[in-house]
């Protein structure tokens, strides 16, 4: 116990969540007469005042359409929007902002690749390799594509501990493989997949790799040049930003060879009645008026995160996750899904025979927000032979004290449902 206490103090000296919590107005409210404990960060994160203000300020002083207007407001809007692109490129260490396409989020980023790259380059009989732990966002777009193109999906299975089965990957990787698309950090198990190894193996055969980085970019330092991934998809709202904005990173050569995603204004160069030429990358992929306010907010979110330091955030989250896992496992009847050594702060579990829906409702009454359900990963649930789990997921603003309260309430839930 003493060791734990000193560890707690050590962590606090590296990142003090109480220093940042006042920036998040939503966290100080009461829910059902209890102080809110927000443990649903894998679904979406809360927004600091800096992000809320940036959106507010955009609409108050800069609102105009981008890349069109000669007037001052148009210039402000365009500059802010493009600064956000530069910011996103820097956040993941991309070589150039030309490699950043703004989208609605991870799901749209992946759909963009499936449509613009997949439809152009996939042929009947080709194969795309996914894992069995994909979120629906990195499964359904590929199902749609392969069904249309007469291509096939192959899957890297996961093992009981929530890690990938590499020998199977080696077997299914072949000259039919045209793409490997994998989730970087599992939203169910918390597993951080060894993507450098996956990328190296795929690249040895000249196969490009797409990373669903919805859960990793918000929590880990990401360097796309170092990873050498070909596509990377992430969402603003899971990293303090607003909903409806996210990004696709891709290598320049890939973006240049891909067809447009949607047609409309902004994505064109010259237009005649019968045909048109495309704008330069990345604008070729951004038809119509984009989510400008969202980009302003997204930029503020990345500023906020980099001001703290992503390394520091990762370390703190690892500490709070380890602390939570240790405490949770002391509870009788606790089953935790996934025990990968490399993991992030999403913990899926079941407690005795209490259904996750009942447990989440009970916790909500105590002010604790967790997710219950299949986490948009029905195939994962089916393989685990369960209908649902409860999931607690952390961000840097969560505290060890919140974890203590959560564990206490889990114990009282057992007493309540077993009366």
């Amino acid at each position: 116990m003493e060791a734990l206490q000193s560890e707690k103090i050590n962590i606090k000296t590296t990142l003090d969540p109480y220093k940042y919590r006042p920036d998040f107005p939503i966290l100080s409210q009461k829910v059902h007469d209890n102080t809110l404990v927000y443990f649903d960060n894998a679904a979406t994160t809360q927004k600091p005042i800096q992000v809320i203000e940036s959106i507010n300020q955009y609409y108050r002083i800069s609102n105009a359409n981008v890349h069109r207007a000669i007037h001052l407001l148009g210039e402000r809007a365009t500059n802010g929007y493009e600064e956000a692109r530069v910011r996103a490129a820097r956040f993941i260490n991309a070589e150039s902002e030309r490699q950043i396409v703004f989208t609605r989020g991870t799901t749209e980023s992946i759909n963009l690749v499936a449509n613009s790259w997949g439809r152009k380059f996939l042929e009947p009989g080709d194969e795309i390799i996914l894992t069995e732990m994909e979120h629906h966002s990195n499964l359904i777009p590929w199902q749609l594509l392969t069904h249309q193109m007469g291509a096939k999906l192959r899957f890297i299975p996961f093992k009981a501990d929530g890690t990938l089965d590499f020998p199977v990957f080696e077997q299914i990787l072949s000259n039919k493989t045209k793409l490997v698309a994998v989730i970087h950090m599992s939203n169910v198990f918390g597993t951080i997949n060894p993507i450098k190894r996956i990328i190296r193996m795929a690249h040895d055969r000249g196969v490009p790799v797409l990373l669903d980085a919805a859960q990793s970019v918000p929590h880990l330092p990401i360097d796309v040049q170092n990873l050498d991934c070909d596509f990377l998809a992430f969402s603003g709202h899971k990293m303090l930003g607003p909903t409806g904005i996210g990004a696709l990173y891709a290598k320049v050569r890939l973006l240049e060879n891909m067809d447009p995603y949607q047609g409309g204004g902004e994505m064109i160069s010259s237009v005649w009645l019968e045909n048109a030429t495309w704008n330069e990358i990345p604008h070729k992929f951004e038809a119509g008026t984009p989510n400008i306010a969202g980009a302003f907010g997204f930029k503020a979110a990345m500023d906020y995160l980099d001001n703290i330091g992503m390394q520091k955030i990762t370390l703190y989250e690892q500490a709070i996750t380890t602390y939570a896992l240790d405490k949770m496992m002391e509870i009788d009847g606790m089953i935790i899904y996934g025990s990968a050594p490399e993991r992030g702060g999403a913990i899926s579990f079941n407690l005795g025979n209490i259904h996750p829906h009942d447990l989440a409702h009970y916790l909500d009454q105590q002010g604790i927000a967790v997710r219950a359900g299949h986490h948009c990963a029905q195939t994962v649930m089916r393989k685990l032979n369960i209908a649902a789990t409860t999931r607690a997921s952390f961000y840097f603003y969560n505290t060890f004290e919140e974890v203590d309260y959560f564990v206490e309430q889990l114990k009282s839930a057992v007493a309540f449902f077993n009366f």
């Binding site: 259904h355 829906h357 209908a387 649902a388 309540f416």
Partner: protein, 151 residues
Amino acid sequence: MKDEFRELYQEIILEHNRSPRNYRKMDDCTHVLEGRNPLCGDHYIIYLKVKDDIIEDVSFEGSGCAISKASASVMSTTIKGKSLAEANEYFEIFHKLVTGEADADAYFEKAGKIAAFSGVSEFPVRVKCASLAWHTMHNALENKADKVSTE
């Protein structure tokens, strides 16, 4: 904890969840229907044996939250041995209770254990949990569809 929450999970509901009645497959059923709530994964199959307008037997299988399972269990005990018209009447009463259109007192005589579910009306998100088995039973008898979804 708020009283409304204790009211929702009152003893009779927790008890039926732990020891559901008529929880079995029925091979000689005349009606069978699968009900599903895709959002939360609740999933039940309702079996009915109807002869001369009387529900001679009713049973169910499947899984879901305590509210949905207890509801299926109480539904089975409520309509077993009743006529189709009576089953329909109970379906209407149940619906009114969980949506808060009527309170339990209005049906004190008739409702019996169904009254325990009136607490659901305080929690709109749980109405679909409580209703799943009832809707599935109702549609099975009406031969409405192959599958029921409360979403």
